[in-house]
Amino acid sequence: MVSFTKPKIRRKNEPTNDIGLIRSDYDGAMSTLCAGCGHDSVTAAMGRAFFELAIEPYRAVKVSGIGCSSKTTTYFMSQAHGNNTVHGRMPAVATGAMAANADLTYIGVSGDGDSLSIGLGQLVHAMRRNVNMLYMLENNGVYGLTKGQFSAAADIGSTAKKGGANEMAPIDPCALALSVGATFVARSFSGDKEQLVNLIKAGLKHKGFAIIDVTSPCVSFNDHKGSTKSYEHTFKYYHKAVHADYVPPSAEIRASYEDGETMPIELHDGGVINLRKLDNGYDPTDRASAFSKVLESGQSDEILTGLLYIDETTKDMTTRKNLPKRALNTIDYAELNPGANKMAGLMKEFG
């Protein structure tokens, strides 16, 4: 298998973003996934979100684990550094990279196997640390790359392609995230590009750990009748609870604000996420309310989507650790070296 570079085609009057780049400037290598795989749609949504936010690709860092989903970091933004780490361990690498340079935008891509089985420990600890990154969990209920074993996200009763139903309770990434203190929790579907792009934009702009659990069907191993992660099933039970729009700092903000319906959440960069609740009586800034809503939906067939919870007040890791405004990796050695005189002083302690 080889990776192909996509030919760049620039059309006349091609729309540009605020920094003069066109959409294809956010492309990567040609995908090698199965035709129709949900992950490819998520890749497209990520490229679009970065394009619309006018983030310079080289100021972003893509990190991933291992799996079909984790491969996709090569398929967008080739001008961004990528790090395809080891299975289930992307959060640690992302966190270390973040410590070295918090000036860049970090996006992590993982699968349900990578995140909820082998990598469960690292995922929850990245959430606890509130590492400032967006974590995309491309959830297809199976291990695609190792040919279709059930993952820990498989629903009870969901059947395998070769027959046999899953009998163990699934780990719901959103319930998990809410319980360990993630500060941005969303769910979406690879088949709803509009919602997904909006959520990615909001997640990238959130200062802290943002997770989006994206149902992303595996056409080769989990798209059959009886699977609860198929396109058909997801389209049927898909339910939008909260709509989120990111409004950049420069734009007119409270234009469409109507009390009781739209809820603006101010972000650290001065932008705003406008939350439009589609369900009455649901407060996405209240962890307990979000938690019960997620648990309730888990008991039905309903797939609750949208920005389910947001908290902009908890400090992210770099703020909590009092890291400098400039990146640690840019500090000159002269500033890090305490010097020979200090050493002579320190040695008195030991004499």
Binding site: E56, G82, A97, E335, A340, G351
Partner: protein, 604 residues
């Protein structure tokens, strides 16, 4: 046999852990040091927080030998639970001091030693009321008793007590009183001083007493490390404690309060490795300290760092394994694992410090080497070096030091047309160039992957392309051999065809064994290896002798295997001398093992 003689003897103190005896023992040792007499301390402690036996052994030796002697001349038996063992361990002709508040006839079993009783508990209980202070004061009382027995300079001790409690001065009188209790009792009731005593010297000028982990943490500060990640594990934890302490002291911006360092306590060692690797990949100098169990968990990540050529530093402070083993005892048991850690074809750069000074220096070396060779680098220390206080020359720093950041391509270089491919050997030195994320808008990005990649950094499943990269990795690794700290050779005064080869903390015991064996007519040269891959001198050295004793602290003669595997040395020439009971190596063991081997050879 060493001592006992003036300024040449061993004191062993038996305590119960959690009773505050560590500061009393520290006081005793430091006072000897401040009298200008070289001394080393070895702490033998249990894997437990309170209530189990612990021993502290001080070897006073004005010739400056730092290894254990294997003798005990004065035993301070403060733990009734271990009386029998302590009594048995005193060298013939030695002395034992115990708390005679409860007299023990059984203490008089041995007629080849002198047993002395001091009613410590009774005196302390009569003088102090508070329960906790009675426990602590008993420690001070035995320091006073020992002072009288060996002519410890009480002015030095008093001055140290004043310094110790400088911030809590109201504790000074009671501590002084406790010292006097012990001192006066011995003065009035016991034959003193002992035949072996202390006499002031000036042999500790310019020296300090420091443990290797503190020195390693300090090395990371001076070496410019900014990201440290770890998961607590004895005996490595104090590396991070030290880094943290000195970063908080020296690396906080006084104006903004910003921290010019990030210390992250990981959820496990897998994460600690990932954190350090992520930071190293992103251009921060990073490290993670751990011990054998942690290295086992880090294996997959270490291979990832090796294959993706990501710099970072691993400290392995060895303890007794496998599994949990004896976590508070020392060994050199991770020699093989660190050399070849992870699956597939992997070989690493490993440094072998022998004392705290080298822990400091090699921390800086390791940070440089990791970036120069774009590889994980190991510093293989052990519990003995890491957690015991050693006497070394005071650490110094050269402000002209410039970190070797290796081959990092800058934005300007890319602008000027530098054609960047991640794994291309442009300079013929087997080392490629790397870029850091966020460098240039259109040039310089690459995809770091543990999956097959070719020299351009692109994904490959082509066998030839794969081989080209891993062959270069092997060459790169091998080329590091002349950039590591060189081996140290110590020649005997006589020409000889026998030698010792070793690494790390065995040094003190070996030097002493060589000197003493020399006096018996058995002359040995000695090479201490300080890095892996082995320098060319290692091969040359081994070629020059008929017999080479490979002395090491593990069961399987791991260093010997590594030498056989990585050099052309004749296997039969390498005689294994292995000690792995968990306490630091003594010269006596080395001497006996080598004498025995020579005797067998003579009779055979």
């Amino acid at each position: 046999m060493s001592g006992p003689a003036l300024n040449d003897f061993v004191i062993r103190v038996a305590n119960v852990n959690g009773t505050g005896s560590a500061s009393a023992n520290g006081l005793l040792m430091k006072a000897i040091f401040r009298m200008g007499i070289p001394v080393v301390g070895k702490n033998v402690f249990p894997s437990n927080i309170q209530g189990l036996p612990t021993w502290y052994e001080m070897r006073v030796n004005e010739d400056g030998y730092t290894g254990r002697s294997g003798e005990i001349h004065l035993m301070i038996a403060m733990n009734a639970e271990t009386y029998a063992k302590d009594l048995a361990s005193v060298s013939p002709g030695g002395y034992l001091l115990y708390d005679s508040t409860w007299p023990r006839p059984s203490m008089l079993q041995r007629d080849d030693i002198t047993v002395m009783g001091v009613p410590f508990s009774q005196m302390v209980n009569d003088t102090f009321t508070h329960a906790r202070s009675r426990i602590l004061m008993k420690n001070m009382a035995y320091v006073g008793a020992v002072a009288a027995l060996i002519n410890l300079d009480m002015d030095v001790v008093r001055k140290m007590v004043e310094d110790m409690f400088a911030s809590k001065t109201k504790l000074i009188p009671s501590n002084m009183q406790a010292l006097e209790l012990g001192l006066n009792y011995v003065t009035d009731n016991i034959d003193h001083p002992l035949p072996f005593t202390l006499e002031k010297r000036d042999k500790t000028n310019g020296k300090v007493m420091i443990d290797g982990n503190t020195a390693a943490g300090l090395g990371c500060v001076y070496g410019g490390a900014t990201v440290g990640a770890w998961y607590p594990i004895t005996p490595s934890t104090s590396v991070m404690d030290s880094f943290s302490k000195y970063c908080h002291k020296l690396r906080i911006d006084p104006e903004t309060g910003e921290h010019k360092f990030a210390i992250i306590q990981a959820e496990d060692e897998l994460a600690a490795a990932g954190l350090a690797i992520g930071a190293g990949w992103n251009g921060a100098r990073s490290f993670t300290p751990t011990s054998g169990a942690g290295i086992s968990l880090m294996n997959e990540f270490i291979g990832f760092a090796y294959y993706t050529e990501t710099p970072t530093v691993f400290f392995d402070i060895q303890r007794v394994g496998p599994s949990t083993g004896m976590p508070t005892r020392t060994q050199q048991c991770d020699i093989t694992t660190t050399a070849y850690c992870s699956h597939g074809d992997t070989k690493h750069i490993v440094l072998y410090p022998a004392d705290p000074k080298e822990c400091f220096e090699m921390s800086v070396n390791a940070l440089d080497l990791a970036e120069r060779f774009q590889a994980p680098v190991f510093v293989l220390s052990d519990l003995d070096i890491g957690m015991n206080d050693w006497m070394i020359d005071a650490l110094t720093w050269d402000d002209n030091y410039v970190p070797d950041r290796g081959k990092i391509v800058t934005r300007e270089q890319l602008e000027d047309g530098f054609e960047f491919f991640r794994y291309l050997d442009v300079d013929g030195d087997h080392i490629p160039y790397r870029t850091l994320p966020g460098t240039h808008p259109t040039k310089g990005a690459y995809f770091n992957r543990g999956s097959g990649h070719n020299k351009y950094g692109r994904y490959t499943e082509d066998g030839e392309e794969y081989k080209e990269v891993v062959d270069r990795l092997a060459d790169k690794w091998f080329s590091a051999r002349s950039h590591l700290p060189a081996p140290v050779i110590r020649k005997s005064a006589h020409k000889t065809k026998a030698a010792i080869l070793a690494i790390g903390s065995s040094d003190g015991a070996i030097i002493e064994a060589c000197d003493r064996l020399g006096k018996t007519g058995l002359h040995l040269d000695y090479m201490r290896v300080r890095g892996f891959p082995f320098a060319d001198e290692v091969e040359d050295f081994m070629a020059a002798y008929d017999t080479i004793y490979v002395v090491e602290q593990n069961r399987d003669a791991q260093l010997r295997s590594l030498l056989i595997n990585e050099t052309n040395v004749l296997k039969a020439k390498l005689i294994p001398v292995t000690y792995y009971a968990g306490d630091p190596l003594s010269y006596k063991f080395v001497m006996e093992a080598i004498s025995e081997h020579t005797a067998i050879r003579k009779t055979a």
